[in-house]
Every structure is written in structure tokens, then in C-alpha cells.
Amino acid sequence: MSPRGLFSVRALSCARGDKTLFAGLSFQLNAGEALHVRGPNGLGKTTLLRALCGLSRPIRGDIRWRGERVSDLAEEFTAEVAYVGHLNGIQGELTVLENLQTAARVFVRGKERMADVETALARVGLVASADRPARHLSQGQKRRLALARLLILRRPLWILDEPFTALDAASVEGLSSIIGEHMSAGGLALIVSHQAFDLPGIRDFELARFCKART
């Protein structure tokens, strides 16, 4: 199914502790579009992403997916989102392959797609280490494993927090092209990254516009 997704956020404001980080944040995202969320350290980018994918509750504002409130859709919505955060979400005890297989089983609805696992592994260049326990991977290899999940989940909306951390030059290239394909397949993407990367047709989004006080 090619997602005709329309993701719209209006008047969103979030706080950490007792401090409001940003307020009145709004944007729209259509099929095949992507945002590069930018801003100095500690501005609230991670907070924003977590709020958008429903991991933390914003103070106010409404987030809509295909026109309906995310809070009403609940699981319906999470079934459409793929999130990669600062943490990799890898099981050190399981092998690289097992990690992906479990992901496929738990996160992919309906009949699973084990075929994807193979292709995903190949795509992030971890075939060689497929049977090694994930805790033996190097920092960058771990990151790649986390990103491989994106290819398996096949979710229309990608939310990525610093995806390029610890990746070597080649992998950065690879990832950007992966995102590019996702977009041209009608997928949406929200990317936070301090690191430069070239991705045709991605819009910059300065978070600073919505924050009055700086930390």
C-alpha cells in the first residue's frame, strides 16, 4: 500500500520538567515530503520527536494523521510510524539476525515479511555479522542495525533522531539514499540531525522559531 498519508501538527507545545520548550509549533507534511528539524543542542528536538510519535504527552496542540486525531487513532497510528531515537533498541544478547526477525514478528502486522530481513541486512552491510551477538557490534554497526529496522517495518512515517551518529561516510550516503527512496515511494520523514547530509527535496525546519527562551 502506498501511503497517501497527510501528517499535520497544529499549535503544539511541549515542556520538560517545568520549562516550556516550544509553543505554537505547526507544520504539515504530505506524501513524499521530509523535514530536516534543526536547532542547537538542548532546544527540544528530541522532545518534539517523542511527542510526535506518541511516546510523551505534549501540553497542548493537536496532531492529526490522515485528518484524524492521533490520540483517537492510538494503535492505528503507531502502526504507521517508525521511530529511531538516540537509543538503538538492540538486544545485545540476540544475534543481529534474531534482532531483526523479532522486530519483524512483533512490529509488522498481518503476515510477516521475513524476506525483508535478508534484504535489510544486505542493505546496511551487516550480512557478515548476521550471526554475531549484537553486543559485540561496534558503535556504528549497532546504529546500522537499528536503522535496518526501518526497512523491515515498512511504515509510511519515519521519525529519526540523529540517525547518522557514529556512521562512517559510506553509511551516511547509504542512509540518505534509503530515505530518498522512502520519500519517492510516497513516505514521510522527520529527521533531526546536526550532521550535514544531502537529500534532494528535504525541507529545513528551524525549531528555534517556536522557542522564546533559550537554555
Partner: protein, 227 residues
């Protein structure tokens, strides 16, 4: 669809079994802890068989309870640290169901073996043979309750530093009924009282209750802790 749910639950269950199994020690240690507590007691109290027999049911049950309490930290903690929990929250299935699967895995790896091993230790503590059946049965009924109730504090204390000890502080009061019913059942069977059936059926009822609310409560707790 619901087939898909069951499928996912099984996947989570299998995954946890596998992970814990790889942490080779994990399974054994909770058991060994159980063994040690029960063996420490004769050392501390002194070897008089009569005294021992009096306290045997109590010691066995307290040991079981502490062993479970200790293992609770491993129910969610490592998944939380490496971020796979935050991924689990993003699954298309109702969280409580997946949590239930995790709890089941936890029980299979801690409560179950513990219940099966208990008769050996009961012998050490000079528990009359006629009470063995009741002991195992009471543990089979009781330990799942421990895992279920324990899941809630385990989820609540995630990310809270020093959570390890905090869990036990939160959970032990809630464990009281299980302890009392369990120990009483065994004591009764050991011939210090009436039929143990009453206590066992109470345990059963309690298990049914916790089964109904614990997974829901702990998934709610998870959402809060990850907020």
C-alpha cells in the same frame, strides 16, 4: 488480525525466553538464590529438626518471594536501557497483551523452576512428606501472582535510579496475601491445622484477579515511565 496479535505475543514471549536463556546465569541464579536462602536458615537458626519443621513453610515461601522480587529488576530494566522498550510501545498491538507475554516468560524462567525444585529444599527443612504436594501446588499458584503483581512496580521504577531496591520496597506489601495464603496452606498440610484447600482456593481466586488487572496496570505504568 487477532491471529496477528497472538503471533506477536508469542514472538515477544519467545524473544524473552531466548534473551534470558542467553544470559546463561539468569535462569539459574534466581533459583540458586532460592536454594541459598533456604540453606542459610538452618545455619542461622540452628539445626533442631523440630524448630526447623515449624518454620519450614514460612522459610520456603519467604525465600520464593525474595527470589522473585530480586529477579523483577530484569523484567523490563535492560529493555529500558537499550531502548527496545520504547520500540515495544510503538508496536501496532495493545501493549498490555505484549506485557502479559513478557510476564509469562518471566514466570516460566523464575517461578516455575522454583516451584518444581521446592520439594528438594523442603526435605532439607524437614517438612513432612505429606505436605510436599501442597507446597508445589501453592507455589505453582502463587508464583505467577508474584510475577504479575511485581510487574507493576518493576515498570514504575524504570529510569528511577536505585530502582532495584525501590522495587522490593513497593512490591513486598502487595505480596503479603500471597505469602500468608501460601505459607498457611503448606503449614496446614504439614498437619498444624485444618485442610489447606481453603487457602489454595483463595490463592486461585487471587491469581484470577491479578491476571485481570496486572497486565493493564503495568502497561499503563510503562507508558508513564517512558513519558
Amino acid at each position: 488480525m487477532s491471529g496477528g496479535l497472538f503471533y506477536a505475543m508469542r514472538a515477544v514471549f519467545m524473544r524473552d525466553l531466548l534473551v534470558f536463556w542467553r544470559r546463561s546465569t539468569e535462569v539459574m541464579t534466581s533459583l540458586v538464590f532460592f536454594v541459598m536462602v533456604t540453606t542459610l536458615f538452618p545455619l542461622a537458626v540452628g539445626p533442631e529438626r523440630h524448630e526447623l519443621m515449624l518454620i519450614a513453610p514460612g522459610v520456603l515461601w519467604v525465600a520464593a518471594l525474595l527470589a522473585t522480587t530480586l529477579s523483577l529488576n530484569h523484567l523490563f530494566a535492560s529493555d529500558y536501557q537499550d531502548g527496545s522498550l520504547e520500540q515495544l510501545l510503538m508496536s501496532p498491538y495493545p501493549l498490555s497483551a505484549l506485557v502479559a507475554a513478557k510476564i509469562a516468560a518471566h514466570w516460566v524462567l523464575t517461578g516455575l523452576p522454583l516451584a518444581l525444585l521446592s520439594p528438594l529444599l523442603a526435605v532439607q527443612l524437614a517438612l513432612p512428606t505429606k505436605a510436599m504436594g501442597t507446597l508445589v501446588l501453592s507455589l505453582l499458584l502463587g508464583t505467577p501472582i508474584l510475577s504479575l503483581i511485581g510487574a507493576v512496580p518493576a515498570a514504575l521504577t524504570l529510569g528511577v535510579r536505585g530502582g532495584g531496591v525501590l522495587v522490593s520496597l513497593l512490591v513486598l506489601p502487595l505480596y503479603t496475601p500471597v505469602l500468608i495464603f501460601g505459607a498457611e496452606a503448606v503449614a496446614a498440610a504439614a498437619g498444624q491445622g485444618f485442610a489447606s484447600v481453603a487457602h489454595l482456593s483463595l490463592l486461585g481466586a487471587f491469581l484470577a484477579l491479578t491476571l485481570s488487572f496486572a497486565p493493564w496496570a503495568s502497561s499503563a505504568a510503562l507508558r508513564v515511565s517512558l513519558d
